[in-house]
């Protein structure tokens, strides 16, 4: 658990550095998530997408926590899935509870 949280912390820190440092590229991606330890990562992608939308509803898209969820789901989800889900959210037909 501690190791897992350490990954999150490093990840957030690295991204802050990347944004502050301008165009410099930092090698960081969505960290290991102990809820999804298996080969099948479908729900890892899905959960972060749903969490982002729940977060933005409550705190607004620009909130630091929400940006974290967005970075994770952008890293994990295929672009086609995200586009499709965003269309569904707009049309009100997204199956998840937001």
């Amino acid at each position: 658990m501690r190791l897992w949280l350490a990954h999150y912390w490093l990840y957030i820190k690295a991204h802050k550095e990347m944004e502050e440092g301008g165009s410099q590229l930092v090698l960081q991606t969505a960290p290991f998530d102990a809820r999804f330890p298996y080969t099948n990562q479908t729900k890892n992608c899905w959960q972060n997408f749903v969490d982002f939308h729940r977060c933005s509803k409550k705190l607004g898209e620009e909130h630091e926590s929400c940006k974290y969820f967005k970075r994770v789901y952008t890293s994990l989800c295929p672009k086609g899935w995200v586009d499709n889900w965003n269309d569904q959210v707009e049309a009100g037909t997204f199956p998840g509870r937001i």
Partner: protein
């Protein structure tokens, strides 16, 4: 003569590509593949012993010299010839399971690449760095367009660029039907299933160009959607990525 023999029965791969009459593995470029080769060698060791013993028993039995018309049963013999294979199976199963779980492990990757199988090409996405996902399609180069020294049915127009000595997470999915993302030299083979994201980890130890093919029959051009991974140093990877981002 001997050289010729080793050319025809190419047991030990010397390059990162499949060759004519290639029966063995390609040169391992990832720790997982090295482990697979070790595991293969260990099983071959056991297999050689088993094959020799069984052949010897067959020859002896067919010789017809040793028979005993009064022999009806032999409890001890049956116990022995049941236990020995069981022990051998344990010696095969335990490293196999160890390897299986080792291959599942994706520890703190430094980048994520998405490979999406289409009928009939692969498309790749890098979306760790900026708002806009970097994505491109990778089609096979037709035979008529090949340059001298290229590999027929293996070259692609846009290669997947991956840094060496870096833990990379590859997420595989399908856009239409089942495909499978496989690169022998890296020891990965992951099914591309529509609606499902499968994770595989790679760690490339040396620069090089590694070839793979779709490994799940996916339609008419299943054989014509190869995978080419170009493994470069981290600096070159970052330069490549920055140059693409600046465009």
């Amino acid at each position: 003569m001997l050289n010729n023999f080793f050319y025809i029965v190419n047991v030990c791969g010397k390059k990162d590509i499949p060759e004519s009459w290639h029966l063995g593995f390609q040169e391992a470029a990832a720790p997982v593949m090295e482990e697979i080769v070790f595991f293969h060698d260990q099983i071959m060791f056991l297999l050689v012993i088993i094959v020799i013993v069984v052949l010897w028993l067959l020859v002896e039995a067919l010789n017809g010299k040793y028979y005993d018309r009064d022999l009806i049963d032999g409890t001890l013999l049956e116990i022995v010839w049941t236990l020995i294979p069981a022990v051998i199976l344990v010696f095969i199963a335990s490293p196999s399971l160890k390897l299986l779980y080792l291959m599942d492990e994706v520890v703190s990757p430094a980048l994520t690449i998405k490979a999406i199988g289409h009928q009939w090409y692969w498309s790749y996405e890098y979306s760790d760095y900026q708002e806009e996902t970097l994505e491109f399609d990778s089609y096979m180069v037709p035979t008529s367009d090949l340059n001298s020294g290229d590999f027929r049915l293996l070259e692609v127009d846009n290669r997947l660029v991956v840094p060496i000595n870096t833990h990379v997470r590859i997420l595989v999915t399908g856009a239409d039907v089942l495909h499978s993302f496989a690169v022998p030299a890296l020891g990965i083979k992951t099914d591309a299933v529509p609606g499902r994201l499968n994770q595989a980890g790679i760690f490339i130890k040396r620069p090089g160009t590694f070839y793979g093919q779709c490994s799940e029959i996916c339609g008419a051009n299943h054989s014509f959607m190869p995978i080419v991974i170009e493994a470069v140093s981290l600096d070159r990877y970052i330069n490549w990525m920055l140059s693409l981002s600046n465009e």
